[in-house]
Amino acid sequence: MKRSLFGRIWPNATAVVLFAGLVFPVYWMFATAFKPTGDIISENPVWFPTHLTFSHFQKAVDADNFWTLVGNSVTVTVCSVLISLVIALFAAFALARLRFKGRRGLIVTFMLAQMAPWEVMIIAIYMIVRDADMLDSLVPLTAFYAVMVLPLTVLTLRGYVAAVPKELEESAMVDGCTRTQAFVKVIFPLLAPGLMATSLFGFITAWNEFPLVLILNKANDKQTLPLWLSQFQTAFGDDWGATMAASSLFALPILILFIFLQRKAVSGLTDGAVKG
């Protein structure tokens, strides 16, 4: 079926325009961050920076507590994702492989929990954390982030566990493995891509989280990067170079992780099983 010249051109033309529109904000962030201040505050925008400078990054990194906050964000994100992965793996295995009373109800519970409006529960969470005398601490943040990503992690992992052919596990058990051994030696390795894909969304959620840290952690050295970044802009006002440099530093880990993990996550579970 041959398409007319127009029919072949318009999808490609639209794709190029859309690509430009989608990428422009990301491009503009990096471009501004590398431009000398003179090019940023110019009457006509400098579309392609020719003189690159790192001074804005220097300024962002030199800001008070920057490295402390990087440490906080990394700690909170990594810990909460790991905790939720471990907890979820147990739950996902039970939900995917075992038959028991109340299973359906539990799946529905996780589905509903996944839609929990955390954004409007922050007042209650503030009261609870304050009564426990744990404001300005990373522990409650980590715990709440872990539970925020837990339902999705359980449901996604449940899908990945269910996708591992039952026969693999059964044949291992026929060959003398216990159920636990069968899980550790057969299912777990096949779950690796699933774990990565799932952790990606956990990372994004925890790295991005804003309302809770906004209300819980007021001390400057106990905040996380999103809160700092939102204030960086307020504090530095019209210093867009420094603000964009800070944004770039904040966005880069997630952009890299996303591009890296998305490919890994998609390249299949099935490859491993079939090739083996």
Binding site: I87, V120, P193
Partner: protein
């Protein structure tokens, strides 16, 4: 990639094990299971349930309790619990502010979700039609927009729409709309909302488009061939094959977007803190500003509770569908 080597390992193992005398096949033998076996699923689920109950269930209950309390800075500092019945709800529901905010939140949600679903679907269908290279290009654009952290995105949009030296104002000026030179986007309700909506749409389209494209790849080719044999044109085969196939997906995605947009917090708050003059506060922001900003925690909790209620009503149809579908499947 490590998975493949691991995969080979697992295949190698049974061969080794076969040399051993095979143990009793315990998997299928339900009768001989001891009682700790029957408890196993519950033990495995215990940590997840406990965590959810304590850190999600308790705040929900606590929120309900707070909404019946008189909780202002004095009570907060002295750790007083003063119950005041339904006074908070009376105050909220009889004031005109709350209803304005509800109306605004609903309109805001409808506009966003409509734009996201229509544009996302069109881009998803476009992905299906493109050649390999162009599809990859568009995918990269979508993934970058998707992956951009929210607060990084809000600061970039503030810069794009900055009054001085902002690139949007420059472009509009050059296009002949000279009054837009030096325009303050964050000075009025409509213009602030325009920026927020553009940000949310930009951020949310990739999810819809990429998943919709993935869904189209599962449509069996034969259906199109059959449609073509029956003399269906491009439009007819879309309405009779593509659309019915994608309908369940579109349905559930629409409701997910409703939930996400309705409770969007950082995008609106970080862009302009609900300003100018509280005019871009949606329900979650309103609850925060009343509860935390003005330190009327009880009132804020009541607003939060009502917000959850509105959300439940809006999505009840979808929730019912989820529950029903799960019952059928399991």
């Amino acid at each position: 990639m490590s998975v493949q080597t691991e995969g080979t390992d697992t295949a190698g193992e049974p061969a080794v094990r076969k040399a051993r005398p095979a143990g009793p096949p315990s998997g299928e033998d339900r009768g001989s299971r001891s009682s700790h076996r029957a408890a196993a699923p519950y033990l495995l689920l215990l940590p997840a349930l406990l965590a959810t109950l304590v850190l999600l269930g308790w705040p929900l209950v606590k929120n309900g309790m707070l909404s019946f309390q008189n909780l202002n800075p004095r009570q907060l500092i002295q750790h007083l619990t003063e119950w005041n019945g339904i006074d908070n709800y009376k105050e909220v529901l009889t004031g005109s502010d709350f209803w304005h905010v509800v109306e605004r939140s609903l309109v805001f949600t409808v506009i966003n979700v409509a734009l996201i679903m229509v544009l996302g679907t069109l881009i998803g269908l476009l992905l299906a039609r493109l050649g390999r290279k162009m599809r990859l290009l568009l995918m990269i654009g979508l993934v970058l927009a998707w992956a951009m952290p929210i607060i990084a995105a809000t600061t970039v949009y503030q810069w794009l729409f900055a009054q001085r030296f902002g690139v949007v104002n420059w472009v509009l000026d050059k296009l002949g709309w000279h009054s837009m030179a030096g325009y303050n986007w964050f000075g009025t309700q409509t213009s602030t909302f325009s920026v927020v909506i553009l940000l949310l749409v930009w951020e949310s389209i990739p999810f819809v488009a990429i998943n919709l494209y993935a869904a189209t790849t599962t449509i069996p080719r034969e259906l199109y061939e059959a449609a073509a044999l029956d003399g269906a044109g491009a439009w007819k085969s879309f309405t009779s094959v593509t659309f019915p196939f994608l309908k369940p997906f579109l349905y559930s995605t629409t409701f997910l977007e409703v939930i996400w947009i309705f409770k969007a917090f950082p995008q609106i708050f970080a862009i302009n803190e609900g300003g100018p003059d509280h005019l871009t506060e949606t329900l979650p922001i309103y609850a925060f500003v009343q509860g935390v900003g003005n330190q009327h925690f009880g009132v804020g909790a009541a607003i939060s509770f009502l917000t959850v209620l509105v959300l439940l009503v809006m999505t009840s149809y979808y929730l019912r569908m989820v529950l029903k579908q799960e019952e059928d499947e399991l």
